[in-house]
């Protein structure tokens, strides 16, 4: 059918559009020349150099450390916040929710400069701590937003029943509520991690004194030309993520088959 052909072509073109720059990056990570646009033969030297490049490895370390720390902190903070906000009375709930929405709706550059103003006002030294605090600030709202729907779906009486049977509120939280909303917590945590790893704008304004992450490193490189080492690193990260995703995908598929869905 013609219709089907058009759909296939359209899908192909969109994916070509999405993946074209990624293919370029991967191809040029094997290019035996520093300049982009000229193909000078196959090499693996950028992969070798990657492991000698102290600056990039340091940036990589910072990126993952910040992402891990801000994911853990914002997931805990956000989960408790969601449970608390969910149980707040009317108007307070609305105010808290709207306040939580602000960083999501606002332009990231505005969030970035407002945090920069705060840190300057508090006379904090710009560096790792300010970067971490700002990452937690922009990640937590997403955790709250992904936990809230799960709380709405949960049976209200479940926690009450647990407490009627003698559970303390904390015990009910740990044994009943948290397991029930776990999928939301995991989604929120994954989102926080991805957002933190990919962030540039907020890190750019809220770091200092030689503390940089990969985005900042790449941004400064775009002025003097990207070092192909970065292409090599991205290729490795890309392949890593891909393998991880495929494994997760296979597993859920297997689970679905077993459950007979």
């Amino acid at each position: 059918m013609v219709n089907k052909g058009i759909k296939k072509l359209y899908t192909f073109l969109i994916f070509l559009f999405l993946y074209a720059p990624i293919i370029v990056l991967i191809v040029f990570s094997f290019n035996d020349s520093k300049s982009r646009g000229v193909w000078a033969g196959f090499t693996l030297k950028w992969y070798v150099e990657l492991f000698k490049d102290a600056e990039i490895l340091k940036a990589l370390y910072n990126t993952f450390l910040i992402a891990t720390l801000s994911t853990i902190i914002s997931t805990i903070l956000g989960t408790f916040a969601a449970i608390g906000i969910f149980n707040l009375p009317g108007l307070n709930k609305k105010i808290a929710l709207n306040l939580n929405y602000l960083p999501v709706l606002n332009a990231d550059i505005v969030t970035a400069v407002s945090l920069m103003a705060l840190f300057r006002f508090l006379k904090m030294e710009f560096g790792f701590a300010t970067m971490l605090l700002s990452h937690i600030t922009f990640c937590t709202p997403y955790v709250v937003l992904s936990v809230l729907p799960k709380l709405k779906q949960m049976n209200k009486h479940l926690a009450e029943a647990a407490m009627d049977l003698g559970a303390t509120p904390f015990y009910a939280l740990r044994k009943v509520i948290i397991p029930e909303i776990m999928p939301g917590i995991i989604t929120g945590g994954l989102m926080a991690f991805t957002l933190s790893i990919d962030d540039f704008v907020i890190s750019f304004f809220n770091t200092g004194n030689g503390v940089s992450n990969l985005s900042i490193e790449i941004f400064s490189m775009t002025r003097r030309g990207i070092n192909p080492v970065i292409n090599a690193l991205s290729t490795l990260m890309f392949v890593g993520m891909l393998i991880m995703l495929l494994i997760i995908n296979k597993r859920t598929e297997k689970n679905e088959l077993e459950r007979g869905v």
Binding site: L25, L77, N87, S114, L115, P169, I226
Partner: protein, 277 residues
């Protein structure tokens, strides 16, 4: 249970509310940005902004953001529709393929477009092979637009897809049984039901598009200034935090107005708070 929210309420006060008030305070004062005691109330920053040079930049930013949002919608909607009609297995795989590019640093992906668009780039290589003159693709508004559509397309496709895939198939069958043709099924059933997804998509594309300064500085060259670039310059280079803050406030008001406008079309708003309006 509500006590669980207290730590975050305090956090929001310190890291969301106070910073915004600080920006507001900066916006309505002049003085030495580094010395609070020299601050004086003034509207000078806003007056300074009402100047053809700056207004033109704001106009350009809004214009590019609107065009890229529309392009994302036109390109993304059919894609979301096609994906939502696939079988579950293929559907999940296709959505995954939309998400995967986002896991590669977006600066790097945007930068890679230079290799494709450049004078000796891949696209021009093909164009000259066919026998045409090489095109001037880099460092202009078209390049910026392309960068925006490229970066923000998934943010349009994903929310629309997630609404489309939940539409009750019985509704479509019912419409068909009642004699609706394909066009009518789409315009009277599918499209109205997908409006919440469209609204989310529009906000998720428009906000980053109107405030970006990376895409314009990477693909637009030096001539392409957007409001995001102006704010960045004031804070990072010129050091006039007062003027920078007033521009941030203007940008914020602009975004909030757009949100208010789009949410008017979203009748199926969920109750119980959420959303500023």
């Amino acid at each position: 249970m509500k006590k669980a929210s207290y730590p975050y309420l305090i956090w929001m006060g310190i890291f969301i509310l106070i910073p915004l008030f600080l920006v507001l305070y900066f916006a309505f004062t002049v003085g030495d940005s580094q010395n609070l005691s020299t601050f004086q109330f003034s509207l000078a920053n806003f007056k300074r902004f009402i100047n053809p040079i700056y207004l033109k930049v704001l106009g350009r930013s809004v214009n590019l953001a609107v065009v890229s949002t529309i392009l994302c919608l036109i390109i993304g909607y059919p894609m979301a529709l096609i994906i939502s009609k696939e079988k579950a297995r293929k559907r999940n795989l296709m959505i995954l393929m939309f998400v995967i590019p986002m896991w590669m640093n977006f600066l790097l992906r945007t930068y890679a477009w230079l290799t494709l668009l450049g004078k000796n780039g891949f696209i021009n290589y093909l164009v000259t092979k066919i026998g045409f003159q090489p095109l001037d693709l880099m460092y202009n508004d078209t390049a910026v637009l392309l960068g925006m559509v490229y970066n923000f397309l998934p943010f349009m496709v994903l929310p629309i897809y997630s609404v489309l895939v939940k539409i009750d198939k019985n509704l479509i069958e019912a419409a068909e049984d009642l004699g609706a043709n394909k066009m009518e099924v789409f315009s009277k059933v599918i499209l109205p039901l997908s409006i919440p997804g469209i609204i989310t998509g529009i906000t998720m594309v428009f906000i980053p598009a109107v405030s970006t300064f990376i895409i314009s500085s990477l693909l637009g060259g030096n001539k392409s200034n957007l409001i995001g670039n102006l704010i960045e310059q004031q804070f990072r280079w010129t050091g006039d935090w007062h003027f920078g803050s007033s521009m941030s406030i203007i940008l914020m008001v602009f975004i909030l107005l757009t949100m208010a406008l789009t949410s008017k079309f979203d009748k199926e708003k969920e109750g119980g708070g959420g959303g500023l309006w």
